[in-house]
C-alpha cells in the first residue's frame, strides 16, 4: 500500500490501483454519511477529485493518487457509507483505477514514510 499527503491510499494489483482514504483521514472526517463514487469509464489525472465523502458537518474531496481510467467503483458505499469509518483501508475503498502512468507510484509514500508524515501533523 502507498499513501499521499492528502491521506489517500492505493494498493496496486497488476495495472489496477484500488483507492481509498486512510484510517487517519476517516477518523478526522468523523462519521461518513454520504459517498459519491466516480462513474466507471471516467478518466482522472493524479491530484484531481475522484470521489466526494461527506460527514454530518462537511463535504471533502478524495483526490486521485494516480492517473488512469476508473474500471470499478464501490457502489456498496451508497447504502453503507459507514464502511468508510469501519474499514477505511479495506471494504471502504472508493474506486479501482487502471494505471496509465505507473511511474506516478514512485512519488507516493510507503507506510513507514506516511506514519512519519502523520507524526509531523
Amino acid at each position: 500500500m502507498k499513501f499521499t499527503k492528502d491521506h489517500e491510499w492505493v494498493e496496486v494489483a497488476g495495472d489496477v490501483a484500488t483507492v481509498g482514504i486512510t484510517a487517519y483521514a476517516a477518523e478526522q472526517l468523523g462519521d461518513v454519511v454520504f459517498v459519491e463514487v466516480p462513474e466507471v469509464g471516467k478518466t482522472v489525472k493524479q491530484g484531481e477529485a475522484l470521489a466526494v465523502v461527506e460527514s454530518v458537518k462537511a463535504a471533502s474531496d478524495v483526490y486521485a493518487p494516480v492517473s488512469g481510467e476508473v474500471v470499478e467503483a464501490n457502489e456498496t458505499l451508497g447504502d453503507s457509507p459507514e464502511t468508510v469509518n469501519a474499514a477505511p483501508e479495506a471494504g471502504g475503498w472508493f474506486a479501482k483505477v487502471k494505471l496509465n502512468n505507473p511511474a506516478e507510484l514512485n512519488a507516493l509514500m510507503d507506510r513507514d514514510a506516511y506514519e512519519a508524515f502523520l507524526g509531523t501533523l
Binding site: 468523523g30 462519521d31 454519511v33 454520504f34 459519491e36 466526494v52 461527506e54 454530518v56 458537518k57
Partner: protein, 370 residues
C-alpha cells in the same frame, strides 16, 4: 483573525483535556466535537442530555428607568410587556427591516434586562445598543460570566438535582437562583429543539459546574458540530447563514419575533417592509427541504424548480442524524413554498430531487406546561 488572537472560554482547558477538536468560531477556540464525533453527540442529546459550552455568546445587562422601552427602538419584540421570570426572542433590526442579530432577552430578577446575543455579532450589537440607549439606559457586558446549555430529555431531571427550582419552570421561563454555591441565571430554553436549559454562571465557577454536571452519567459534553445539526433539525435559523442584514424576520420564518403590540403600533425599524410582509407581500420566504436523493445540499447550493430553473439558494443544509437523511433550509419566492411539492437542489452541478416539508424537521419537545 490569526490563531493567536483567538479568545478562550473559561472551559478551554476542560475541552482540550476531554479530547475535543478545537476550531476557530466567533473569535474563540471552540470545541466542534469531542471523541464521540458529531453523529453520536447529536443522537446522545436527543436521547439523554448534552452539555454545551456557549460562552462565546454575549451576555449583557440593560439597566435604566425603562430599559425595555429604550431597547424596543432596536428590536422587534414587545419587551415592555415581558413579565418578570420570562424570556422572549427578538431580532435586532436595521432601518430596512433586515436582521443585525437575533437574541434572547429575559427578566430573571429586578436588575434590568438580561440579554444573550450571538458571539460573532456581540461587539457590533453592543455598540449599536449603547448608542441607541445613550442617556436612557446602560449596557453592561458580563465578560465575567460563562454560558452553558444542558439540552435533551434528561436535562430536566439532571438539573433538578442541583437546582430544584428548575423543575418548576416552563419553556422560556427565566430565573436568578443560588445554585452550585454561586449565583446562576437560568432559562428553560436552548437551540436544539429539545427541552433543556441555558445556564449563566460566573467564569471562575464554570469549570467546576461543568465537571459537576458531567459527573452524571446521563450527561455528555457536546460540540458545536452537533449543536448545528440539532438546531437545523429543529428548524431554527442560524444568524449569518439563514438570517442576515438583507433578510427580514418574516422572510426567515420567524414572524413571532415581531410582537403583537409592536405590529399594531408599527413602531419598529423597518416597519414599512415588515408590515407589508406580514400582510402577505413577500418576495422570498424560507423553505424547508427534504433532499430525496444524492448528496446533502449544503449552504450555497442552488434551489431549482421541478423544471430545473434556479429559484433560490440553500442557506443551511446537511445530514440530519435524527431525521435520518439530508435536510436543508433555503430561500425561494413564496409560490414555491408549497408543502409536498417537488423542487430540486443542485449539488456539484447535479440536480437532485427535494421535497418541500414543514418545519421543524424533527418534532420539538419544549415543555410548555407542567
Amino acid at each position: 483573525m490569526s490563531e493567536q488572537d483567538l479568545k478562550k472560554t473559561p472551559l478551554y482547558d476542560a475541552h482540550v483535556a476531554a479530547g475535543a477538536r478545537m476550531v476557530p468560531f466567533a473569535g474563540y477556540h471552540m470545541p466542534v466535537q469531542y471523541k464521540d464525533g458529531v453523529l453520536k453527540e447529536h443522537l446522545w442529546t436527543r436521547e439523554h442530555a448534552g452539555l454545551f459550552d456557549v460562552s462565546h455568546m454575549g451576555q449583557a445587562r440593560l439597566r435604566g428607568d425603562n430599559p425595555a422601552k429604550s431597547f424596543e427602538k432596536l428590536v422587534s419584540a414587545d419587551y415592555q410587556g415581558l413579565k418578570p421570570g420570562k424570556q422572549r426572542y427578538a431580532v435586532l433590526l436595521n432601518a430596512e427591516g433586515g436582521v443585525i442579530d437575533d437574541l434572547m432577552t429575559a427578566r430573571p430578577d429586578d436588575d434590568g434586562l438580561f440579554i444573550v446575543v450571538n458571539g460573532a455579532c456581540k461587539d457590533n450589537d453592543y455598540k449599536i445598543i449603547a448608542e441607541a440607549l445613550a442617556g436612557e439606559a446602560t449596557v453592561e457586558r458580563l465578560e465575567d460570566r460563562a454560558l452553558l446549555a444542558l439540552q435533551g430529555p434528561e436535562a430536566a431531571p439532571v438539573l433538578a438535582a442541583h437546582i430544584p427550582e428548575a423543575a418548576n419552570m416552563v419553556f422560556m421561563d427565566s430565573a436568578a437562583v443560588t445554585a452550585f454555591g454561586t449565583d446562576v441565571l437560568i432559562s428553560r430554553s436552548g437551540y436544539t429543539g429539545e427541552d433543556g436549559y441555558e445556564i449563566s454562571v460566573p467564569s471562575t465557577e464554570a469549570a467546576r459546574i461543568w465537571n459537576t454536571l458531567l459527573e452524571d452519567e446521563r450527561v455528555k459534553a457536546i460540540g458545536l458540530g452537533a449543536r448545528d445539526s440539532l438546531r437545523l433539525e429543529a428548524g431554527l435559523p442560524l444568524y449569518g447563514h439563514d438570517m442576515d442584514e438583507t433578510v427580514s424576520p418574516i422572510e426567515a420564518g420567524m414572524p413571532f419575533a415581531v410582537g403583537k403590540s409592536r405590529r399594531e403600533a408599527g413602531d419598529y425599524l423597518g416597519a414599512d417592509r415588515i408590515g407589508k410582509e406580514l400582510a402577505g407581500d413577500l418576495k422570498r420566504v424560507r423553505v424547508n427541504l427534504k433532499v430525496l436523493e444524492g448528496a446533502p445540499a449544503r449552504e450555497g447550493a442552488e434551489i431549482a424548480d421541478a423544471d430545473g430553473a434556479v429559484i433560490g439558494k440553500v442557506t443551511s443544509g446537511g445530514f440530519g442524524p435524527s431525521f435520518g437523511g439530508a435536510i436543508a433550509i433555503g430561500f425561494v419566492p413564496p409560490q414555491y413554498n408549497v408543502v409536498g411539492s417537488e423542487l430540486k437542489v443542485i449539488v456539484r452541478g447535479k440536480p437532485q430531487k427535494a421535497e418541500v416539508v414543514t418545519s421543524p424537521f424533527v418534532p420539538t419537545r419544549y415543555v410548555r406546561k407542567l
